[in-house]
Structures are given as structure tokens and as C-alpha cells.
């Protein structure tokens, strides 16, 4: 009887310890914002296949998180297309991340606003945690080494002059 009681107590302690470890792991690794951009490979919406963020290393990347239902995203869509055309030959890639959105809606949006730069689909919003996103749109500039360059442009529409200034600074860096 005493042995069974001891076993029960040991099991209870082990269960509590496991829950504490799980909690600590979740807090440490779960959905926290990472110091540098997390690499990802996501399906493309502008064409078939996938795109890995790391494959753009060596270029300045303008990472724009958007969705078709997001009103400021519509207001800034043409700015990103203009920036993409202006800087494409200078080693800058605008990369759209359509987030928490249906792919059909996203493609309609891209046709409507004449988006020609690469766009990937993160329908589940899996990147929101590591990129510290809680609303859309959010834009980050990454330098040639794939590191964040400056603070994020949260909300929108993105100030076009500030964005160009940031890109020029990243190209000079």
C-alpha cells in the first residue's frame, strides 16, 4: 500500500514537472519574435513552386506582409509595385507574404493591383509569431546578409519616401 502511494506521488510530481518543462519550452521557443528574420519556404502565388527566403541572400529584400481583406494593403499595393520596378535592377527584391488569406482572393488582389513581384502564401499565418506580427500590413527591410535593416513599418499605407530612403541606405551598407 505504501509502495503504491509512493508510486502515485512520484507520478504526480513527474506530471507536474513535465508540464512546467513544456510551459518553459513554449515560452522560450513557442511564438516569440526572433531577433533576426526566420527563414521560410512557402508556396508561390505569382507562379508555381516554392520560394525560400534564404535564396535571396545577397540582395536587399523588402518583405511586405499583406492580405486581400486588409484595407491599408490595398492603399499601399501600388507603392510596392513601383518600388519593385524601380529597384529590381539594383539588387532589390520586393517579396510579398500573403497572410491569413485565401489564395484565390490573393491572386485576384494581385491581378487587380498589377503585382509583378514574387508573392508567397502563408495562409495559416505561421510567420506571425517569429516576425512579431499582430496586424497587417507590416513591412521589413532585410540587408544583403539577410538581417533586419532598421525598424519595421507597422500598419499602412507604408510611407513611400521613408521606404525608399531605407532601401537606399541598405544598398549603401
Amino acid at each position: 500500500m505504501a509502495r503504491a502511494k509512493l508510486l502515485g506521488q512520484a507520478l504526480a510530481v513527474a506530471l507536474v514537472a513535465a508540464l512546467v518543462v513544456l510551459l518553459i519550452w513554449k515560452v522560450a521557443h513557442g511564438s516569440g519574435r526572433t531577433a533576426q528574420p526566420e527563414n521560410f519556404t512557402l508556396p508561390r502565388l505569382d507562379r508555381s513552386g516554392e520560394l525560400e527566403l534564404a535564396s535571396l541572400r545577397g540582395k536587399v529584400v523588402v518583405l511586405n506582409f499583406w492580405a486581400s481583406w486588409c484595407i491599408p494593403c490595398k492603399q499601399e499595393a501600388r507603392t510596392f509595385e513601383e518600388v519593385s520596378r524601380q529597384y529590381r535592377s539594383k539588387g532589390v527584391v520586393v517579396l510579398g507574404v500573403d497572410s491569413k488569406d485565401a489564395s484565390g482572393d490573393a491572386r485576384s488582389f494581385m491581378r487587380r493591383y498589377g503585382v509583378t513581384y514574387p508573392v508567397v502564401h502563408d495562409g495559416a499565418g505561421d510567420l506571425w509569431g517569429s516576425y512579431g506580427i499582430s496586424f497587417l500590413p507590416v513591412t521589413r527591410v532585410l540587408d544583403r546578409k539577410g538581417k533586419y535593416f532598421g525598424e519595421s513599418f507597422d500598419g499602412g499605407p507604408v510611407p513611400a519616401a521613408d521606404l525608399r530612403q531605407r532601401i537606399n541606405a541598405a544598398l549603401r551598407a
Binding site: 486588409c70 491569413k100 485565401a102 499565418g125
Partner: protein, 161 residues
Amino acid sequence: MKALVAGLAVATALGLAAPALASEQHPTLAEIEGEVMCPVCPGETLDESTAPAADRERALIRSLIAKGYSKSEIEEKLVDEYGPQILAAPPKHGFNLLAWVLPIAGVIGGALALGYLAWHWSRGRGEPEPHSVPRAGAAPDDPVDPELEQRLDDELARFDT
């Protein structure tokens, strides 16, 4: 009589199965709205949300219903688009099955543990206490120290005098 009971059972089963089958084959937006989540509102099902993203999700469901998709096919399509967390309840297969099994196992385990404890407690109370006073005329479990017995007799004799 047995045939009547069997007939009633079959009729009841068919009566319950028919609406479920109809719902699976020809779902309505209202049915699905309560079973899927809004993509941008934590903890809110689609029928609770007024967010623009929820409106787009509703439009997608409407278009799939219009195309003749079944309920399961619509849910599969939503999972493809928004990920598995779009479902309000986890699917009943794979690792997610644990979410269904564990609560039931917990309730059964808890009931068994409670039953065992109740049985053990009632059994323990029925047994005599190890150091209880023996009934009159019964032989004591432990022999009394002769010296103590003598002292007790002497004390009692003092009351008799």
C-alpha cells in the same frame, strides 16, 4: 415483440442518420460557420466574427457550397488555405485524436480513482482500530503490565473502602 423493438431501433437510427447525411452532402453556411474559426480573431468562430477576413472566408465557403462541395471537402479546402487551426475542433485522426481521447480517458480514470478511494476509505473504517479498548469479557490483545495492574487494583480498592 422483438421484431417491433428491432424495427423501432432501425427507424430511430435512420431518422438520426438522414439529417447528418444531408448536412454532409448539402451543408449550409450557418452549419459550417460554427465549426470553423475566423482566421484573424483568436478564439472566435466564424459565426462570431465581423472582421473583414471573416467576410472573405464566408465568401469562400459560399462559393464552395455553390460548386457542390460536401462539408468535409469544404473543411479540407479551408485547411489547405488557412492551415489546420482553422477548424474549431481538431480532426479525429492522427495526433489530434489525443484531444478527443484524453478528456474521456481522464474522466474514466478520475472516476476509477475516486471509486477506488471511496472503497478503500469505507473498508478502512469498517476495521477495528488497532489500539481500541476491548469489549467487556474479551481477552485484551496486549498483556497488561503486572505492576500497572497492581497499582490500578490498589487505587480501585481505595474507592471501595
